[in-house]
Amino acid sequence: MSTQTDNLDAPSSRLRSESQSSIWLRRFTSLAPLWTLLALGIFFSIASPTFSRPINLNNILAQISTLAIFGTGMTFVLLTGEIDLSIAAVAGLAGMIAAYLYANLEYAEPIPTLAALGVSTLLGLVGGFASTRFRIPTFMATLALSLIAGGLNTYVSKGRVISDLPEIASFLGSGRIGGSSGLRVIIIVAALSLLIGHLVLRYTRFGRYVYMTGASKSAARLVGVNTDRILLITLTISGFAAGLAGIVSMGRLGSAQPIAIPSYLIDTIGAVVLGGTALTGGRGGIPQTVMGLLIYGTLRNGLDNIPEIDIYLKDFITGVVLLAALVVNVVLSGRRARDKTS
């Protein structure tokens, strides 16, 4: 027994035997997102008088909370090496269904919320079924699904905004615990979603299968993993997460919109990949997604807090910084890949 324990502690002793510079490089490399976050944080603290106030930092958390829920599902999908392009549309549809059932058909809670979550989960399942059963690439299947969800949203809403929202959505999206200056519920929901995602990915057998499917589909199949089933489940999870994000976001914004917010999709993928989860699958995870979200949130919020910046330039700057951060990540992970072959 004792030898086992010794062996489990071996990584540190093994690391010590490597050259100091390579350790330093590896540590620096693996923490690249952290450096990015620190650099951005310091920059905005200096450039903006309001950025580093506690109330603003709290704001950042609230702003990225919706993305965090989307990002939990997206992390699962990206880890298998696939993609889900339907999340923004599915979220829009989920919000509309909940609001429509509540306001127009006068169903009592929790039916509207459960129905919305059910439909979005089902849509994820449909996308997964299409791509595993009929070998349609997830890129295409979820793109089609995005149109379907968006179309249903338009049809149900007839183009009208609904502002009479079910209580659950309002509570999750804009409620606070402990008085008017208490903790925002949306942050708790986001944190819980990330935590559950992390536990599943890191500690369950299913989580292992997700990583292995993305790392090498052929090797996973050879050891008996049903990679199709894994993909189906991850897309279903992503559908559920999108539905939840849709309800929360509706509660936060105060109305159900007939048109989905398209930036959710780009922002989610951007944040998750920025954190270091590879689009090719098998590498990354929830901790990386958290880093990505923080960077993204800091960037977006920080630009708002510098009055000198033209508001019309915000998207452009975000895009440039995103591209730069991605280049840094890719270059550094490329260096890591070369290390492996030597």
């Binding site: 050879l222 008996g224 590498r283 492996k340």
Partner: protein, 491 residues
Amino acid sequence: MPPVIELKNISKRFLNLQALDHVDFDLREGETHALVGENGAGKSTLMRILAGIYPEYEGDYFIRGQRIHLGSPRDALNRGIGMIHQELSVMPELSVAENLFLGRQITNRWGAVDWKKMNTVAQDELARLGFDDIDVQKPLGNYALGTQQVVEVLRVMLSGAQVLIMDEPTSALSPAEVERLIQLINTLPQTNRSVIYISHFLDEVMRVADRITVLRDGQKVRTLEKTETNVNQLISLILGHDVQSEPPLSASTSDGHTLLDIQNLTADVFSDISLKINQGEIVGIYGAIGAGHFDLARAIFGMYRFDSGTIRVDGQIFPHHFSASYAINHGLAYATESRRKSLFMDEAIYRNVTMPHLRRISTLFSRARQEFQVASPVVERVNVQPGDPLNPVGKLSGGNQQKVVIARWLAFPPKVFVMSEPTRGMDVGAKSEVLNILRDFRNQGYGVLVVSSEPETVLAVCDRVVVMSRGKIVSEMANKNLNKDVLMRLL
């Protein structure tokens, strides 16, 4: 008249391997010149130098008496030397005519493709060579592999090649398709074209070749006129010793309990395969690349679809469609011929070992400590070096990676272990270690199926050898008095 191609004193080294050692070779106009030799004798290297794929070598290369140097395959094609690869490089979705004119479509004066003219020319070319049953407007994928191979040859010819290099062109073809290709090759001298023909199938070589060059261990043994030699002499030249004439023993039915029983298994690339593996037995399936034996192994493990036949493991009949996890749960294990495709290179050794068994050693949650306890003893048993189970598999040598592939299945032993190319690309020491592990496994009363294109491997470790050629079992023998001559003759 100088020969079309002449090579003098060609040598080529890869790191510490002398692939070619002062080899001479010449090709006359209108002749078919076959290259034969064992795996690793230097055929492929010589061929790649001829086709411009390896621009760096020592020695001289002459085309029609003129000393040249080829920098690339395109360079070679410009000088009239075209290569037909073992793996077809045709586009199955495009029409036959498009494939024939790939990259050189006939265009009209507006620069658009002139379909009418292209189809007519293609149809005429095919008709002239006796293939008028092929409709050039149909997608090439609609035709059998043999026809695709013929079209590939024609494509290279039409692109202006005077010399055609063919690397194992018939290994995946049915006998009728082989006839078709040989028919085509035999018409080439009429157009003054020459062929360099590489094949494992010596009877086929005797039918198409005018001259035959034998290579062994990177050296040229001899060049013979077809009329002055026979298959027996070729085999003894290839192997470097006299052919032994003792007949191999027919397979003895060992009386152990049958663990794997395959009856009449048929798929697109193999047919009517029946074989049994008993307790405590290592059975080898030997065949040239393309014989269908690797796909047979996949089919047994549920990873290649078969049309008919039955698979029984330890008396239990498998359903017609089953998954790899079904096969694992019912006592099968499988390792492919590609280590790269069967391991998670970035993951620790112990995690690679426990992947197939997570269901057994963990509940809903996976537990590193349990995994470690399962993996450590087997990793030690197969002597992985360096043996720290926390090392990523990608950092191990090929031989040690293969040990991990095997160790994976020793933790919870299967009834039958199907293994493709267990020792490919390993050094001598790792080879014998891996084979010893397989012997141990057998001695504990399990069954092993070794699938290989390397006669040495099969002969070294198997109790019984099944030879497959072009998708069919052609022979089954006990591994007594068995040697490479016998195996080669059966291909």
